[in-house]
């Protein structure tokens, strides 16, 4: 059950997926699509494990006061607030007591957590009392404030103003900026690593330099030859290199996948 059943499952599902590739019939397609849904759904359930891990690590940092523990609070707030925004939306144009509820809920959960980990009995009491009180405030607002609502089964939350703002003005800017750091890193990597140390490094360097010079206007008549050389490098040796790597990777993937299905390679399963 612990070891043999998983190996058998890998074998059965693996072989089925190989066979279905050659069977175009709609029954085979139906099972194929159903199995892909399994994968998606297992993945979604697993996210709970991920969020638990993130929370556990962050809470550990806060509790143990490890260096930079203050920033773990930022992560936890970001996570919590984003989930809250995703499940709530305004019913009209007014915010009502929306943010009061949010603050009450956040502080309520925080003080309950504080109370739970605190060792001193008197502080625990304060933590629990404050937490329950704040949660009560939250419940009251959530029930009696008509200007906003929770939506779990329909996706109003995705369109809610705060969810969009956090996405547009926090997530997107930071991520695109992270991406654009590549402009700098490609420059520093080129400076640091493109040294004509040996023949391989020289080939790498020369070919990169020619391609980088392909549209340089200050080269005069030589420029055209450089542009054509760059074009040739990109379409001839580059294609040859890619073809060889692709074939090699293809064989490597099939070999590894076969080993997994046949139970020869089981490193991914751990022990015991």
């Amino acid at each position: 059950m612990r070891r043999q059943l998983p190996l058998a499952l890998v074998f059965i599902f693996g072989v089925f997926m190989i066979v279905q590739y050659f069977v175009p019939h709609e029954y085979s397609e139906w099972v194929y699509e159903f199995l892909l849904d399994w994968i998606t759904i297992i993945g979604i359930f697993a996210l709970a494990l991920g969020i638990y891990s993130l929370t556990h690590v962050s809470m550990g940092k806060i509790r143990n006061r490890t260096p930079n523990w203050q920033y773990a609070i930022v992560t936890m707030l970001g996570l919590f607030v984003m989930i809250y925004f995703g499940f709530t939306a305004r019913t009209g144009d007014s915010w009502g007591l929306y943010f009061v509820a949010l603050v009450a809920l956040t502080l309520g959960i925080s003080s309950l957590t504080w109370g739970a980990v605190e060792t001193q009995a008197s502080r625990r009491k304060i933590g629990f009392a404050a937490g329950l009180g704040l949660l009560a405030v939250f419940v009251l607002v959530a029930v009696f404030d008509p200007s906003w609502k929770f939506y779990f089964y329909t996706s109003e939350g995705l369109q809610s103003a705060m969810f969009r703002n956090f996405f547009d003005y926090i997530m997107i800017p930071i991520q695109s900026t992270m991406f654009s750091l590549l402009a700098f890193f490609i420059a520093s990597a080129a400076y640091r690593a493109f040294r004509a140390r040996n023949i391989l490094a020289t080939l790498l360097l020369a070919s990169a330099l020619i391609v980088m010079l392909r549209f340089n206007p200050f080269l005069g008549p030589v420029g055209e030859y450089i542009a054509q050389t760059a074009n040739w490098l990109l379409n001839v040796p580059n294609l040859a290199a890619k073809r060889a790597i692709v074939i090699g990777i293809g064989l490597g993937i099939v070999a590894t996948a076969l080993k997994v299905i046949l139970g020869i390679e089981r490193g991914y399963m751990g022990r015991g």
Partner: protein, 266 residues
């Protein structure tokens, strides 16, 4: 642009600058931006997977009608199987039963690997092999211009280069003698190809930075000075200069600290 939107834009400008500050060194602003985006993006994916994954892919299939009837009146009751597998993943929360989570994992990996075998064989091996068996353009062997891509000799170089590079990847034969010579030619081809890819990508990466400059320019700087905006008031410029002041203060502080350590060393 309304003031509220500009407030958000200024915050975006702040986190953009905070992220860029990482290039200088790790600092509190970067730590803030980093931890914020980790939390927010994790929350974002919880919501996206809930609303766009779990609800349509599972709930709507299990409960077509009223949710409290659950899958009793569902048109696709067999979707209970992946739901059970998903729940089994949660046995990892328990020390005693965590081995049960291997079942869904085994299904997951079995499906993935089984899917990969024929697909990768077809796309990476068969199709590339077929593409390699191409006709060489003998009528235009020397090409019509300097290093002509469509010339016959280029076709031959592609073929020979690919074979040589493939020979480089042999694991069970030492790279010696003629075999070693061909393998060396193969790694040359690989390196030329890698260099060309690297050089080619530089342009796209610089564009990313230009795009960031444009964002800051168009949405943050210009709005602060856009008096034609009907909602314009002093608040816009106060916000703008506030962030600029923070930036300048940080730079000045860093320079002072640097000079101080220099003086102590010197």
């Amino acid at each position: 642009m309304e003031f509220g939107t500009y407030l958000w834009t200024t915050f975006a400008a702040f986190v953009i600058l905070a992220t860029f500050s990482f290039l200088y060194k790790d600092n509190p602003f970067y730590k803030f931006a980093e931890h914020l985006v980790v939390g927010v993006s994790a929350g974002y994916f919880v919501i996206i997977l809930w609303h766009n994954g779990l609800v349509p892919n599972l709930f709507h299939r299990l409960a077509d009608g009223d949710w409290y009837l659950l899958w009793m009146n569902s048109s696709k009751p067999w979707y209970i199987i992946p739901a059970i597998l998903g729940v089994l993943m949660w046995t990892r929360f328990s020390k005693k039963y965590s081995w049960v989570s291997r079942w869904p994992l085994a299904v997951y990996i079995g499906v993935g690997t089984g899917l990969a075998i024929p697909l990768e064989m077809s796309n990476r091996v068969n199709k590339q092999l077929y593409a390699a068996m191409a006709e060489i353009d003998w009528s235009n062997f020397w090409g019509s211009r300097f290093l002509d891509v469509s010339a016959g000799y280029s076709d031959i170089i592609i073929f020979v280069g690919a074979i040589a590079a493939l020979i480089y990847f042999f694991f069970s034969k030492a790279h010696t003698g003629v075999f070693g010579g061909v393998a060396t030619f193969g790694i040359w081809i690989l390196m030329i190809g890698f260099g060309a890819s690297f050089g080619y990508t530089v342009m796209a990466r610089i564009s990313l930075f230009i795009n960031r400059i444009q964002y800051m320019d168009n949405y943050w700087v210009q709005t602060a000075f856009d008096t034609s905006n009907p909602n314009f008031h002093a608040g816009f410029q106060i916000l703008f200069w506030l962030l600029v002041a923070v930036l300048i203060l940080y730079i000045v502080r860093e320079i002072m600290a640097h000079l101080k350590t220099k003086a102590q060393q010197g």
